[in-house]
């Protein structure tokens, strides 16, 4: 073991220090560190200052953003796959003559791509995708025109909607992985700081809390999205109707739900982790 020395009183026979006779001090210098603590007994995790406020902020944020980060990466992956389809379609257009079979194969490939990329989404991602689809209530004659002004305004609003979803997705792709790494690091530090005899129990508590917290965040985001988005359904409560309003409410609900249920999930997970550990370590076959 590193930094270990035989137990006993300093200066007793059997413990010899190599002290240079020419120096002023006649004893071995201690290792640098805070006064009053024995540096040899302190591990790296004990030297890390961990603010409870920072720990809670990171853990709650990760519960909330982990599922959204997952979805954001799938959105990015779809974008790349779609570029391949775009290239194939451009090749067909360059050639000039497109047969019915080729057209159908391309459209089927595109439909399969959309379907397959939606399968691994979190419940929130699936719900948000559904909400962004237009047409649950087809605009009545003139309604769309009244709302948008012209066909150009419709196309412009389509572009704006894509830009805002792109920005949101970018935030999750950048912040999400950082939060996941931070959360795992903090959880590991908490485990390592526990006394040796409590470390396994603390690990069971903290890592179960992490897992259940993320799962709770995913469920809460979906529930929050469904609850608030329904308020934005056409003609129900909010007078300004439309997919954007419903999508915005889904996002807000998702964030609130993910935050609340994620926190509850983490606390429940911690308790469950401890209970399972206690059960497993005290269980005896009779």
């Amino acid at each position: 073991m590193a930094n270990a020395r035989p137990a006993g009183v300093t200066g007793t026979p059997g413990q010899r220090h190599d002290v240079d006779d020419g120096t002023m001090i006649r004893a071995q210098s201690p290792k640098p560190g805070p006064i009053g603590l024995d540096p040899a007994s302190r591990g790296l995790s004990e030297q890390v200052l961990l603010s409870p406020a920072f720990q809670n902020t990171v853990q709650l944020s990760n519960d909330l953003t982990a599922p959204m980060t997952w979805d954001a990466f799938w959105r990015s992956a779809y974008g790349r796959a779609d570029k391949v389809l775009q290239a194939q379609a451009n090749e067909l257009l360059k050639r000039g003559n497109i047969t019915r079979v080729e057209y159908e194969a391309l459209v089927n490939a595109r439909n399969d791509l959309v379907t397959e990329f939606r399968k691994p989404l979190s419940p929130f991602g699936k719900a948000y995708s559904e909400i962004l689809k237009p047409g649950t209530k087809l605009p009545q004659p003139g309604e769309l025109l009244t709302r948008k002004g012209s066909i150009e305004a419709v196309l412009e609003s389509v572009g704006k909607s894509r830009a805002s979803v792109n920005r949101l997705s970018m935030v999750f792709r950048v912040a999400g992985p950082a939060l996941i790494v931070l959360d795992i690091t903090i959880t590991t530090v908490v485990v390592m700081r526990a006394p040796a005899e409590q470390r396994a129990r603390t690990a069971a508590r903290e890592y179960t809390g992490l897992g259940v917290g993320v799962a709770g965040g995913a469920g809460g985001a979906w529930a929050g999205c469904a609850t608030l988005a329904t308020l934005g359904s056409p003609s129900l409560v909010v007078p300004i109707v439309g997919e954007v309003t419903e999508g915005g409410l889904c996002l807000v609900g998702g964030l609130l739900g993910g935050f609340g249920v994620g926190w509850l999930g983490r606390e429940a997970g911690k308790k469950a982790g401890e209970a399972v550990y206690d059960f497993v370590t005290t269980f005896r076959w009779e």
Binding site: T136, P139, P141, G142, T227, T230, V237
Partner: protein, 118 residues
């Protein structure tokens, strides 16, 4: 109002969200929901993709007489048949297969003019 909210919430949770109304097309014109748009009234057709977070939805905006604007999507029952009918009954419009391929090839934000051709 509260009971209507819970009905809608239950429908959403069970995946029973109402889909878009059907589109039909024949020699008389385009039937969108309960509205009929004669072919002679069609002034402009523009196809585009709407962002659906992961994936997109193919859409068609139809500008009719009196500045009426309709929007149909690939989720509308009768979408394929309507595309074929546009090619058949609206002389001077782009072929169905061609505009669909152009739409697949389009980058996000681009639209495809189907009628009149640019």
């Amino acid at each position: 109002m509260i009971s209507r909210y819970f009905e809608r919430l239950a429908a959403r949770v069970q995946g029973r969200r109402p889909g878009p109304p059907a589109v039909s097309a024949d020699a008389a014109g385009l039937g969108i929901g309960g509205n009929l748009l004669a072919w002679s009234e069609v002034r402009r057709l523009e196809a585009y993709k709407r962002d659906a977070y992961v994936g997109d939805v193919l859409c068609l905006a139809i500008l009719g007489a009196g500045d009426r604007v309709f929007e149909i999507t690939e989720a509308s029952p009768g979408w394929e048949a309507a595309g074929d009918a546009i090619e058949r009954f609206l002389p001077g419009s782009m072929a169905h297969a061609e505009w669909m391929v152009r739409l697949v090839a389009a980058t996000p934000g681009q639209s495809v003019a189907i009628y009149p051709l640019a």
